[in-house]
Amino acid sequence: MPGRNAPLGTPTKVTQGSKTKGGIGESTLRPDGTLKVTGEFAYSSDMWHEDMLWGQILRSTTAHAEIVSIDTAEALALPGVYAVMTYDDLPTDVRNYGLEIQDTPVLAHGRVRHHGEPVAIVAADHPETARRAAAKIKVEYRDLPVVTDEASATAPDAILLHENRTDHHVGHVDHPNIVHRQPIIRGDVEAARARADFIVTGEYTFGMQDQAFLGPESGLAVPAEDGGVDLYIATQWLHSDLRQIAPVLGLPEDRIRMTLSGVGGAFGGREDLSMQIHACLLALRTGKPVKIVYNRFESFFGHVHRHPAKLTYEHGATKDGKLTHLKARIVLDGGAYASASPAVVGNAASLGAGPYVIDDVDIDCIALYTNNPPCGAMRGFGAVQACFAYEAQMDKLADAVGMDRVEFRRLNAMEQGSLLPTGQAVDSPAPVAELLRRVKAMPLPPEQQWLTAGEAADVRQLPGGLSNTTHGEGVVRGVGYAVGIKNVGFSEGFDDYSTARVRMEVVGGEPVATVHTAMAEVGQGGVTVHAQIARTELGVAQVTIHPADTQVGSAGSTSASRQTYVTGGAVKNSCELVREKVLEAGRRKFGSYHPAWATAELLLEGGKVVTDAGEVLADLVDVLGEESVEVEAEWRHRPTEPFDLRTGQGFGHVQYSFAAHRAVVEVDTELGLVKVIELACAQDVGKALNPLSVVGQIQGGTTQGLGIAVMEEIVVDPKTAKVRNPSFTDYLIPTILDTPTIPVDVLELADEHAPYGLRGVGEAPTLSSTPAVLAAIRNATGLELTKTPVRPEHLTGTA
């Protein structure tokens, strides 16, 4: 078996700060924990200001229409209403925004392209007044035909979502309703197919998932005396927001001061703007602070979703179980506006073969413009959809060859040095086979507990739970496995940097480090890790984390599993620069007293300068005195390059993250109810900077994958392109009853290119969780199950 004797990698050794308490590798507790459990942590929806107004957005009630007229008179006449604004009231000629392609109107102009598109905004002195005023705005629509899938979007006479495109993708797509296309071609699929003893094909359908972060889109815009605005906001990337907001308002960026307020989860859904520009427009128009808070209904329309996808896969294998080739076509529905679709295409295509060695590959991936809800970033970002398909294929192919499904995967697993279909070598540990081995080796939960537990048998642990629909009759068990590969960091040549400002000074007789970045803490625990890094690198006990804002350089996005790597790397780098300056100051002050200042390797430990042999040379308090040492510096990971537009070849990714899952399910085959009994995960994290947070990320990501498998889908009416379930009543996410125990086995094989050898953690578990659950349900029922989510009717044959 390939790779069996290859070294898997070694854990990273850290010298500086290894004796400092609360440094990296410890499960230190969140600095915001106390505020979060007492209710005092100020989320963006908790902001309050004297004389504050409430903003409300009027959204389209139809998916595709011309706007014939808008009449705001009645709304404006309502007592308590301060402003009503439409497209005509926008202050500059820049009236669109977007992450990459500026195709999204701030307010609709003459046409709406999806259900729930913003048409007008209102400010009033009470949220209900604002809602009622919005309802009094009369919008006359003339419906247009909707395009909702590949056939209708790419028909020769299809109505175009965006006429006169000028973006840099339009030149290489076959139809203007295709946002971006990325082929990945390597080797010779036709020749390889001829060598295959077994060929399996499959068509897979992946439903539209919502991020369903709990803290709704919200924020407070306060007009400032200098004509600018102060914006308190929940986002994933302050500086990206700023770059999009400023031109629409017609203000220089330094007149828009953004401060991150508490963020109630993100998962990709806060990469795009939501109410930021609307709140600023109303604040500048009225001269009063304006707060906007979406309710859950509006939140379903207020952010992009995970792309639904249709995936057609063909794999071949020889009779001894070696993969011969892959031919795949992935069609992502990007909805009405581009959002992150181009980058999602790049990910789905380049990772479309999964963590396997396949020499001959032909993958074609596109994202469509349709009148469906816009889709963009969500945890896993294109790699999730692909993993669902290729893992279903691996099971089918293993069965065709007649091999154990896990052994088949291990036989074909990539390892360090393997080539991706892009031709890029994986130049860090890739313990795919080992993760599968580990997850399979975990003990299985006991079978048929309802038979063996006697009086302790608990109906709550059966499918249907307290609905008391079975006491075990018709219940069958299944076990399924899956593994996935996710890129870490922004790919394809993006300048993916972060900035950290670190200061060290004496406060109250103690050396204290202050870390200031613009990193969006969205719950992942970046603030915890930054403090740990500063303790390790500077040998101090006290670290203050400055609130994130735009008074410091960009930290890049809290997405792509990148923040611990990139902003963590920036904090580490700035700390190292501070450390050098502190040691220089020490040499100047005390160098003449001890030769070791010149000759030894010097460390900062326990608030002191020490030699690597442990001899104390000086107290930091004395070295610093009244001085403070401060550094602000940018830090970047290795550059990547774009994929070739025809062949997809290129050094596109900087790092990979691998996770494997084993799902154990019990299915009531009569009612089609699924109970996931256990969802075990093994993941390589390079280095667990905070083991408690790492496990929390893995369990949370796993659960979002479980949601895709058995319950989560935004249902869009194919005739009208309208969303049918915009509520937590009709869009279900896993509750604590739906979620099983999630044992986690963490592997730490250093990536020598990354700070401390760490790997991004957050997304990989969302990839393999879904196909593992699907595989387990297939194993229990014998059904093919090619769609997510699996619904009861798919299991009972009544669909």
Partner: protein, 195 residues
């Protein structure tokens, strides 16, 4: 309309309340108690859970007028509530808040760090959530704390199935619930040791 009720043991008066306002809105926007959260405002997520005369309810589904003359405990009052329960025994009614005299003499705790909240008195369930890593974004946390605290009050030795059943009305999107289970088990164990 005017609504008089007791919040965390202190009498409160909310004026100019519009008839359609929820208890959640009055707590958050009129009484300066934003700890109860607004994740769905449709009774599905549990983030706004408070105790109304001792019973956990979604405050987004309670009309403000319905709380006239009644007792409400929110996450902001959970530490006090837990302390009083320890000092005076069980408090199933939720009426064991701060006395009127004590409320009149109430002052912010001087030794609390406003950035981290260090030095704040916490209920055992609050401390357990921090210690077990049950808090990520924290938006579900207040509602879960109120619900979990009430469950432990009623059932000091819950099985895992009991915990899952009691917390099934509280959605969390970050944690996958495992650390929340750990936190409740930890609080129950500590409670057991303390008796």
């Amino acid at each position: 309309m005017r609504v008089n009720f007791t919040v965390n043991g202190r009498p409160q008066e909310a004026d100019d309340v519009w008839e359609g306002e929820s208890l959640l809105y009055v707590l958050r926007e009129r009484l300066g108690l934003p700890g109860s959260k607004n994740a769905c405002e449709q009774g599905e997520c549990g983030s706004c859970t408070v105790r109304l005369d001792g019973v956990p309810v979604c405050s987004c589904l309670v009309a403000a007028g319905q709380v006239e003359g009644r007792e409400v405990v929110t996450v902001e009052g959970l530490a006090d509530h837990a302390r009083q329960r320890t000092e005076h025994g069980s408090c199933g009614t939720g009426s064991c808040g701060t006395s009127l005299d004590a409320a009149k003499q109430w002052q912010p705790k001087g030794d609390t760090d406003s950035q981290t909240g260090e030095g704040t008195e916490l209920a055992p369930i609050q401390q357990a959530f921090i210690d077990a890593g049950a808090v990520q974004c924290g938006f579900c946390t207040p509602g879960l704390l109120v619900a979990a605290d009430e469950m432990l009050e009623q059932n000091p030795n819950p099985t895992d199935a009991d915990i899952r059943e009691a917390l099934s009305g509280n959605l969390c999107r970050c944690t996958g619930y495992e650390k929340i289970m750990d936190a409740v088990r930890l609080a129950a164990a500590r409670q057991g040791e303390a008796v």
